[in-house]
Amino acid sequence: MSAAIETRRLTKVYGKKRALDHVDLRVEEGSIFGFLGPNGAGKTTTLRMLTGLARPTKGTVRVLGHDVSSADNAVRAEIGFLPDVPGFYEWMTAEEFLRFAGGLFGIERRVLDQRVGVLLDLAGLTDVTTRIGGYSRGMKQRLGVAQALINAPRLLMLDEPTSALDPMGRKEVLDMLESLRGRTTVFFSTHILGDVERICDTVAILDNGRLVVQAPIDELKARYGAEKVVVEVEDGADELATAIDAAPWSTKVERDGNGTMHVTVADAYAAKRAIPAMVAERGLALSRMEAGEMGLEEVFVQLVGGGQS
């Protein structure tokens, strides 16, 4: 599979602050890629370099096979971009802005008419005739997503596309991004884990300018989920929990009120060997024992230290 985005040792330094530090990112064409990180991790800086708005201090950026530093209009013609706070000409209406954006791409009138109608509908702005200056932040954000799609881009890059939206607006934008699966590569930054978990197939986590992890989301959850074991017994759960908590391979035992316990372990193999023996030793009835699944939120908190999100 070819890469829609590829960065090598991407580094950006502002004065003494290292905003990005040797980031190697690879986004496969056709994927929906979630770029996660706490506020200030460097997500916007990365997107600014991917779109050619800022230059790397070191390293390279390739988008759709072209080096961004020498990318011309032909590359930009295949990209859709929504910045974190989109700036519009406030004297225009939504339709005028979409037509203007389409004009910048040189889209033929007939095609543009059709797309403008569809995208206004998608943004929920079909009947809104007021100027953009009077729009709420959510309306601007929806218009921002619509304008990023005007050229039916091969690569869609969005910076925090759902952050200003209410739950319904968020759902609509996520549904729309999901509907692009297989047709367009979608790369979006966010700090909302639920959004990523819902639609992304691949995720990268950035923290303090460093890429902590990049993997398919299922693999990531499985990788970290393997360090969790769920045990359920019919009785004697308190005694078992105390024993497990005291074991050297156990790092945390969480109870859910009845006989189920979620055990975070440092050594999964040792835990899987020891827990059945502990159950048998106490004569308890084992109802369930399985590798636990770790949610993305837990993976995220574990990887970035849980200080911020």
Partner: protein
């Protein structure tokens, strides 16, 4: 339509749909309408309100002619209208950078060089159209008020001013690319204006460089001869160069 043409069209529409259409054209139209009337009636107004002594002094002055109306027009152009250009265009590029609109445009197939050139070209055309309309109104108004209004000196004076206006548009394009602050750019622009006024006192500059244009515009309006070809040509060459430098600077800016 190419990205450049679509952006230039946006720029032109923006002039018509925002405050820009009122400020400079409104100002020039006011000068054009009021100039001939002020020239004709100022002595009489002073006589009426200034008492006998002032009336005696005014009587000693020659009767106002169409040249006084032309003088009024060019004086307003070379001072107030030029200041307005400096202040208005202090944010020509930086305002789009600060509002974030430049980001949405420049991540589409519009080059940064094209972005700057389109802006400067459209506003130079706007300036030219505004000047032509203003001059036509002054011309007609002067003919109505004074009964005669030879065109040559008025149009040459306005042309000299247009050269100066386009030069300052070029200066402000560069300053608004270099500086984020509109007020800062305008302040430096006014400084350049003051320096040019001083430079015009040195004869070679006062004859061939754009620094000559302010004085020459006034001379032409007073019915005297002035060779404006070289100053206008040098002003246009400087303006184009400044816009190209601005475009190259903008290409290296981070947004």
């Amino acid at each position: 339509m190419s990205g450049f043409a679509a952006f230039a069209r946006k720029e032109a529409t923006e002039i018509v749909r925002t405050w820009r259409v009122w400020v400079l054209p409104g100002m020039l139209l006011f000068f054009a309408l009021s100039g001939p009337l002020m020239a004709k009636f100022t002595p009489e107004i002073i006589k009426a309100v200034g008492g006998e002594q002032l009336a005696g002094m005014m009587a000693a002055l020659p009767k106002p002619t169409y040249l006084d109306a032309y003088g009024q027009w060019t004086k307003n152009l070379t001072q107030i209208a030029l200041f307005a250009i400096i202040i208005i265009y202090g944010g020509l590029v930086s305002a789009e950078r600060k509002s974030g609109t430049a980001i949405l445009v420049l991540t589409k197939p519009v080059s940064r060089v094209g972005f700057v050139i389109a802006k400067a070209t459209v506003h130079a055309a706007f300036l030219a159209v505004t000047m032509v309309v203003g001059t036509l109104v002054t011309w007609g108004g002067t003919a109505l008020v004074f009964g005669t209004a030879p065109g040559r000196s008025l149009w040459l004076a306005s042309l000299a001013w247009l050269g100066l206006g386009v030069l300052f548009l070029g200066i402000m394009t560069l300053l608004s690319t270099l500086l984020d602050s509109q007020a800062g750019a305008a302040g430096i622009g006014l400084g350049v204006f003051a320096l040019m006024s001083i430079a015009a006192m040195w004869e070679p500059l006062g004859k061939y460089s754009p620094a000559a244009l302010g004085g020459q515009s006034m001379m032409l309006a007073a019915g005297k001869d002035a060779a404006i070809l070289w100053p206008v040509v040098t002003a246009l060459v400087f303006a184009v160069t400044l816009v190209l430098v601005a475009a190259l600077v903008f290409r290296t800016k981070e947004l």
